[in-house]
Amino acid sequence: MPILELKNVSKIYGSLKALNDINLSVNAGDWLSIMGPSGSGKTTMINIIGCMDTPSTGNVILDGVDISKESQSNLTRIRRDKIGLIFQQFHLINYLTAVENVMLAQYYHSMPDEQEALEALEKVGLKERAYHLPSQLSGGEQQRVCIARALINSPQILLGDEPTGNLDEENEKVVVDIFRRLHSEGVTIIIVTHDPEVGDVAQRKIILEHGRVIQDIDQRATFGEALKLKGA
């Protein structure tokens, strides 16, 4: 049963077709990489999947519900309940500590629970840095806080927009390891990346160009090998 389906999805800005008749199906527990050059439509696609934008035409079915015609407030509610977002720039609030940044997502979802937020940080290996401000954390640590924040409400899909784009090699491996562990726990992961090595780690990889899927590659045969070997 697919958790996400895109059916003939197009997104048109004036005369530009950012996405052109995309069809895609992602099953629960899958790990999908979306790759492609700049301007290929990756960000537009992740915005639509992340309920931050709507398609011009076509249907987006998320967990059995067509969200392509939903209002902004409904999309906000769906995003809050079903999606965990990870950003390239981390987007932590710089005057809140790591644990408060995690609790922020709880606050807008249900009720903030500091203990639960600390456990989420523990999962990404940052419990001891929980009361540090973002400015006191390294880039890798900030991204782990961002992952903890994305996970805190147990989303159905973890959506990453270049999650390793701002990290050095060592931190990139740490983050990919976290994704690997989350995937083994059954979390559905969709990641947009420029980095072929990160893209190769996923079970499946699609390549976008000019708003179209030009390749859909099943990587289950080599799944889990890439960075693992590199880091070994």
């Binding site: 960000t43 915005n47 931050m52 950003f87 609030i93 005057y95 922020l104 997502a105 807008y108």
Partner: protein
Amino acid sequence: MFSRMILKTLIKQKSKMLMIAFTIILGVSLSTAMLNVMLGVGDKVNRELKIYGANINVKHKDAAIISELYGLGVNDKFLYEDDILKLKTIFWGFNILDFAPILEGRVILSIPGTNNTGSEVFINGTWITKHAVLSTGEDLNTGLKNLRTWWDIQGEWLDGNDENDKNFVMAGKSLAEKFNIHVGDAIRLSKNGVIKNFVIKGIFNDGGNADEIILTDLTVAQELLNLSGKISSIEISALTTPDNDLARKAAQNPSSLSPDEYETWYCTAYVSAICHQIQEVIRDGVARAVRQVAESEGTILNKTTLLMILITILSSIGSALAISNLITASVIERSQELGLLKALGAFNYQIIFLVLSEIILTGLFGGVIGYFLGIGFAQIIGQTIFSAYIEISHIVILITGAILFLVIITGSIPAIRYLMALKPTEVLHGK
């Protein structure tokens, strides 16, 4: 979590929030000062306007008709001197600031040692200065001197409380010039066989008809005219509220008012209400507003009030514009943070509530300081312009609070619109 965010945002943005608070302090202090002055200024402005003299004149009811019909200055209908102090016993007695009885008459003036052996002149007997203790124990100091503050005096005023001054009189400038009288000259006044000698103590310049008269103490005039205990009229200076439709309706016929209207009118210091109450204590008296003075006072008071309302409105608009710019700048600066909140699942109303809470807290901080500063400004205005304490009106807290709320909400509208239109995708991707 909410309070943590608010507190930390306020600390993080302290310079911007202090600017907003400072703007609010300025606006609220100005509004508080103006509103307090406006609400307390009625009496103060009225007191200032008392330099224009009496605004109510009481005459015998028959004399009033004769005077209105024929314009005669002297007649044989009189009021009673005993009734004068009852003026302070009426409901609005406290608003009666000064008053003086006038006894008008004609006497024969002759100047010893000159050719002038007898000319008929007008004489006014009055309380030049009067000290009395009322039945309530209140000390009263009043008299014509307080009602003629604009008179230019050559020599000195008579002292009504000094028995020796009963041998002195004052002369109007025109009369003095006509009869070549100077300060210190002796004159003789007579009427129906009563002859009295006086010395001119002062010559006054009124600039009107009063310059044609001789002014004496009331008892002196009563002896000369053989009208003991009688007076022709009473001039009264009272603090009044500008007339409105109710007052005008009552002035025409108080019995046309409904009981509620009558109570409102009677318990408001309209000139017609005060006149009505004066008539209740002055036997045979008819009290009339000196319209030019009363209406000028009302007009000036209304214009002063309007000016202060305008200053309050303009300062509020100015504050709203300044706050609007500051809040919008703050929200634009924080757009990435606020966009993130939207991405995390915050609804527009939650983000607007967050931003408004920050501004309202800052506004309250600035508002409290501004309020107390405004009270200080009101006192400075009171002391500088009116030489009096401005009474603090508690309703100003409510009015200022409402203005502050309105200014904050109005000032936040552009920022709220920006927030509503803010797309998380744009700010999170750095567009």
